[in-house]
Amino acid sequence: MNVRSKDKIARFAFLLAAMVTILILVLIIFYVLFNGLRVVTFEFLTSPIKEMGKEGGIFPTIISSIYLALLSIIIATPLAVGTAVFLTEYTRENVATKIIRFGANCLAGIPSIIFGLFGFVFFVIYLRFGWSILSGSLTLACMILPTIIRTSEEAIKSVSYTYKEVTYALGGTKLQGIYKIVLPKALPGILTGIILGMGRAIEETAVLIFTAGLSIHIPTSVFSSGRSMAVHFYTLAREGISIEKAFGTAAVLVISILIINSISYFIMYRFMRKYT
């Protein structure tokens, strides 16, 4: 089998793999939207929860989800990117960095229920935050920290060393090298980590039940409990309260994630144009 045909087969195999993935993706999204959109009306989006979720809308859960996702990203991103910069730029490859990286990998595999309990014991009880958006976001931040640290580290490492050397040769400092050329060039990788992290934060249920709680009201402050869309779907579907409303919530969740992802990519490409 000569090289040309091997290349064709490989190319076809990759195309097939991509098609299968896209097909699965479309099927799942279609399944969720098909079941959910029937229920989604303007009134469904804006009215509060009534009758345990059988009637009424999911407005409070939308607000809680936004609070939780944003706050957890705002807390996790600086911590993670700071750690990634520290691990790649300010320490030499020694035993400590290897242990930290290995630990981060293992923590990325710990089930969310354990993070939920950790959050419950540490934030809800020990720090007296009670069931609240704050406890929920802090716990979510701890959970998505390993993912963002690992992706940011890979992105920073992939920036070629010459850019840093040029900066030093021009009399720039190490820090200037980092925030003027290394981080901007590594931004796509870091953004991927953040989006994956946010995706995980939004779809989380077990953690939030133990930390952010199940209150069906709109959270008035960081200290009031709030039920996220995913948790609402969880209670409606699993407690068998109402499958239709559950999938309605899931449909709204899917659409909002698609919007967030597309917006962040749009912003990034506009920003990146300056750098390619």
């Binding site: 345990m52 802090l138 960081v222």
Partner: protein, 259 residues
């Protein structure tokens, strides 16, 4: 640590709890009902906020013991010894119905047959009726109030069959049985929907009325647990729970009122 800086910033724009408030936590099955009744109570007493959390009966007991919550919720027939020091008030009862797939021709089961099925002695539908196919038992996970009550009232000392499968909520068991014709399981009577068929148990149909009349044996109480005498606010809410208005709402939503 940096983390504390973040947390303190949280204090700035978070206002403390404005009105008097009480917190409930515990049984995931009863949480939606308690939440609805809390809404009704809050409409009548605007200056009170009631926060109803889930987490499971064990969490309800633990948080009540440690005073983290005002009222713990647990829905087990026999509370574990850890819960002894707590004062218990039964606010509702929840019947448990044995259910099968609606296409299954079986419609009744004696308690002996039920014991044999769930313990694995009877393994094929043909031993109970015309239908063939091996029986697939689906049970609630260990520890859940429904499971503990079912084990105590139906199986007694007998152990559940080794190849039983588990689901961890009424919704998912119902979904599993709706999709598997050979399956058998049990859920709260309040959760029965057309997709599944409840079985007559020892000649008594699993309905809330029969439980109230005391002829249907499989049911469990829902306990409100407080550490010693409940606080003034908590006591008022418990009294509300025992009031006719609240009990009628409980009845309407498929549970069994204690009045």
């Amino acid at each position: 640590m940096l983390l504390l800086i973040f947390i303190s910033s949280g204090f700035l724009f978070g206002c403390a709890r404005k009105t008097q408030s009480i917190v409930l936590a515990g049984s995931t099955a009863f949480q939606p009902f308690a939440e609805k009744l809390a809404e009704v109570y809050m409409e009548k007493h605007p200056n009170v906020t009631i926060d109803v959390q889930g987490g499971g009966s064990a969490l309800g007991i633990m948080t009540a013991l440690q005073g983290i919550v005002d009222i713990g919720m647990a829905d087990m027939v026999k509370l574990p010894k850890e819960a002894d020091p707590l004062t218990k008030t039964i606010v509702a009862m929840d019947g448990i119905a044995i259910i099968v797939n609606e296409k299954n021709s079986i419609s009744k089961l004696t308690s002996i047959e039920a014991q044999k099925v769930f313990s694995g002695d009877i393994t094929d539908w043909s031993q109970l009726g015309p239908k063939k196919g091996n029986i697939r038992v689906i049970s609630r996970e260990d520890g859940s109030g429904t499971r503990k009550s079912f084990d105590k009232l139906v199986l007694g000392k007998i152990k559940l069959t080794k190849n039983a499968m588990y689901q961890d909520s009424n919704g998912t068991i119902r979904e599993a049985i709706k999709s598997d014709p050979n399956s058998i399981g049990y859920i709260s009577i309040g959760f029965l929907i057309p997709g599944v068929k409840p079985l007559v148990f020892d000649g008594v149909a699993p309905t809330n009325e029969n439980v109230k009349k005391g002829i249907y044996k499989i049911f469990r109480p829902v306990y409100f647990l407080t550490n010693g005498e409940p606080g003034r606010l908590a006591q008022k809410f418990i009294n509300f729970m025992l009031s006719d208005e609240a009990q009628s709402i409980i009845k309407k939503d498929g549970l069994i009122s204690i009045k």
